[in-house]
Symmetry: C2
């Protein structure tokens, strides 16, 4: 069993009205030192796979098929083996 941490971000050329709004709110709250806020998605998922390579292939497929919008978004991910607590 593997755990994947996926980060999905808007491509740099795509405007981010949500980030812009949060930036304005922060400036109004007195935090003028923050700029270029970009919002993205973080997805955690457990993957049932025999090898890390297999897990990475599954994650790559679900990202490109469902989780990310291939026109507007980029994605990166990290896969790590989950410790199973049924030893000894």
């Amino acid at each position: 069993m593997y755990k994947a941490n996926i980060t999905i971000t808007l491509r740099p050329s795509i405007l981010d009205p949500e980030g812009k709004t949060i930036e304005q709110s922060l400036h109004q709250l007195g935090y003028g030192d923050v700029h270029n806020i970009r919002m993205g998605k973080h997805v955690e998922v457990d993957v049932d796979a025999g090898t890390e390579k297999e897990a990475r292939e599954i994650v790559d497929t679900i990202c490109s098929k469902l989780l990310a919008n291939p026109v507007m978004e980029d994605y990166t991910f990290r896969v790590e083996k989950l410790q199973v607590a049924v030893e000894r």
Copy 2:
């Protein structure tokens, strides 16, 4: 100038209907090997600060004051120095 990558996740005890829905969609699409999908937010922000410590304090404050819901969400972040391209 520093860049912060913030990850905001729902606390483990909080139900995640969005993640559940995506999990069901993936199963219907034939990806039965993925489980426990949890959706979170990823925020990128540039911070104008003199030192990394100062930048971390600003990021911590905006996370707890505005970006994350302290009752339902946890946050972690990484801060790195931005290379300024105005040298020589």
